[in-house]
């Protein structure tokens, strides 16, 4: 690719960053997510994993917060703080992986349906609408019930049920890009499908997809916790599975707020961060929202 193109793109990126930086909520979200991701990667080095095993746990059952256990203990005597910190790993991993799957499928369906049109578009949109109206949680739970339980099935179940919004968005954007004259010019000069999609459609659709992606991550993390609460999760420690065990072990009737609050607050903070970043990116990248709000 020629140098001026890159220069223009770099200038555009600098511009986007300057506008994004002005949004304080989005900036806070970015910082929080970055710190949490860094911590999750380093967690095996920082946390003594013996504290996570039921057999080697040292505390009593459902002890309130104390000097030794800052956030109390769970029903088998493990530190709730340790579990919450460790739970970030699976919750984030599932959130990111499910989002990746969902966004790739959604983008593919959206671009293909808008680019080729005709019966392909009709069939794909029929399927998209079908998945769009179905209660996604129920479908994901059913998928989990019939498949072997593991973290990867959770990722698949969430990814497979959450792509239609992305597909719709990408389709609309692709249609609007493809109606512009330079696409016609490109086709007239002999550009094939791959060329038009790869060189023209994707570059102009991807920024919007990226903004949408951050919103999807938040939704996927909530979905993971909800599925875990319904008993559909692998054996790994995640915020959702902690809340499920808290509920099953009677932490609510015992008034063990220290067991319920930390994982839930962690979910809210992370999802809120992703939502703030997503909305921030959307206002900067979506030309239609510019000047609104």
């Amino acid at each position: 690719m020629s140098a001026p193109v890159w220069q223009r793109r770099r200038a555009a990126a600098v511009d986007v960053w300057r506008q994004f930086r002005a949004n304080r909520g989005a900036l806070f979200g970015t910082a929080f997510i970055a710190l949490l991701v860094l911590f999750s990667l380093l967690a095996p080095l920082l946390i003594d994993q013996r504290g996570l095993e039921v057999v080697t746990a040292t505390g009593g059952s459902l002890e309130p917060p104390s000097g030794e256990y800052w956030l109390g203990t769970d029903e088998s005597g493990r530190s709730v703080m340790l579990l919450t910190l460790w739970g970030a790993r699976v919750s984030l991993l599932v959130g990111f992986a499910a989002t990746l799957l969902s966004v790739v499928v959604g983008t593919l369906v959206g671009v293909v349906s808008a680019h080729f049109g005709g019966w392909i578009s009709a069939v794909l949109m029929r399927i998209t609408d079908f998945f769009l109206v179905l209660p996604a949680l129920v479908l994901a739970a059913v998928l989990m019930a019939v498949l072997p339980t593991s973290m990867w099935t959770v990722i698949m179940a969430i990814g497979v049920t959450s792509w239609p919004t992305t597909a719709r968005l990408v389709r609309a954007q692709t249609l609007s890009v493809e109606s512009r004259p330079y696409i016609e010019r490109s086709k007239a000069l002999g550009g094939g499908h791959a060329h038009v999609i790869g060189k023209h459609v994707l570059p102009s659709v991807l920024p919007l997809v990226f903004a949408n992606t951050t919103l999807v991550v938040g939704g996927s993390i909530i979905a993971e916790s909800t599925l875990a609460f319904l008993g559909m999760s692998g054996p790994e420690i995640s915020w959702g599975s902690m809340l499920d065990r808290a509920n099953q072990s009677g932490a609510v009737t015992a008034g063990a707020w220290w067991y319920l609050l930390p994982p839930g607050i962690a979910i809210v903070l992370v999802v809120l961060s992703f939502t703030l970043v997503g909305r921030g990116l959307e206002t900067v990248l979506n030309p239609r929202l510019k000047g609104e709000r």
């Binding site: 109206v133 179905l134 019930a145 019939v146 839930g264 999802v271």
Partner: protein, 339 residues
């Protein structure tokens, strides 16, 4: 699961315009819904055939069963016949309201679903009505003073609520009101005499589940009402109304709000899928004896025939609701009809 609280209208703008005649529009929508229903029925069958292993093994787990009993069960459940025949039997059964037999309770799934429908209708109905009223009121107030303190606070609260897993909100309410409201079920263990006392008892049990569901769903109505009113606010007819001397209050109530209501009305039906997902978790938290709790119990079992039945019923009702939304939109919005 991931519909963000952004201001999106689910009906495609191009879809709205190209309806040539009323009959074609209605036929198209009904046809689409029928195709979706067929999808749901097929999905309901084939998803449950993906299960690795023998369903009989799952079913008789933890129960000693001799081979003769197994063979008998297999025959009674039709598991010894080819898959296509099982599918035809299943469809024929559905058409007659026969959803199969529960693995766990050995009862017809149809009966189990039927007795759980009304509690869910009560819960979802009450929560939806309250959420719509609250959402519309807040949305109108936020939009009318756009960018003001009220607007910003409300949008912030809506975002925070959206970032919360619904079941966690329910658990929080339970732990915060510890003992003030009943934590499970729809009626007391021995219900009081008299209709009024019984209704009060149910309302007492309904408070927390209804509040949780309400908090989860009102934000969508608020955001849509807000953006839809914002769209109307620049319109000329409002300037005319003001120019002829109407008070601000009357301009809002008589002119702006009725027009802005249109997209919100259809949203009530379009949001039904989200409400259904919310019902599952809320009913699971509060042991509200509806379809959501039945879903939860059959997931925990796992009681696959029950799960299959509940899935078909829930997904089917969502599709019907969406069809109603599409049809209603045409009835209430003359602009769509005229084009």
């Amino acid at each position: 699961m991931t519909t963000s609280p952004t201001e999106q209208h689910a009906t495609d703008p191009d879809e709205r315009r190209d309806g040539t005649s009323a009959t074609r529009y209605v036929a198209g929508k009904v046809g689409g819904a029928l195709v979706s229903l067929v999808f749901v029925v097929a999905l309901g069958f084939f998803l449950f055939r993906m299960i690795p292993g023998d369903p009989l093994v799952t079913m008789t787990r933890e129960r000693p069963t001799d081979p003769e009993q197994l063979a008998h069960l297999r025959e009674r459940l039709g598991l010894d016949r080819p898959v296509w025949q099982q599918f035809l039997d299943y469809v024929a059964g559905l058409l007659q309201g026969d959803f199969g037999t529960s693995y766990m309770y050995r009862r017809p799934v149809g009966d189990m679903i039927a007795e759980r429908v009304w509690p869910t209708v009560l819960l979802v109905g009450t929560a939806t009505v309250l959420a719509v009223l609250l959402g519309l009121w807040l949305g109108v107030r936020a939009a009318w003073r756009r960018g003001g303190t009220f607007d910003r606070t409300q949008t912030g609260i809506a975002l925070a609520l959206w970032s919360m897993p619904q079941f966690w909100l329910g658990l929080l309410l339970l732990i915060a009101t510890q003992g003030v409201f009943p934590s499970r079920g729809m009626t007391s263990v021995d219900p009081p005499d008299g209709f009024a006392a019984q209704a009060l008892d149910v309302a007492w049990h309904l408070t927390l589940p209804c509040l949780t569901l309400l908090l989860v769903i009102y934000a969508q109505y608020m955001l849509v009402m807000r953006s839809s009113l914002l769209e109307e606010m620049g319109a000329d007819y409002l300037r005319t109304a003001r120019a002829k001397g109407l008070r601000d209050d009357l301009v809002r109530r008589r002119h702006a709000v009725p027009n802005a209501l249109l997209p919100t009305m259809t949203l009530i039906f379009l949001q039904f899928g989200m409400v259904v997902s919310g019902t599952v978790t809320v009913e699971a938290v509060f042991s509200w004896p509806g379809l959501g709790l039945l879903t939860y119990e059959s997931l925990r079992g796992p009681d696959l025939p029950v799960l299959q039945g509940v899935f078909v019923i829930l997904a089917g009702s969502v599709i019907v609701m969406n069809l109603l939304a599409d049809l209603l939109y045409r009835v209430v919005d003359p602009r769509v009809r005229a084009s």
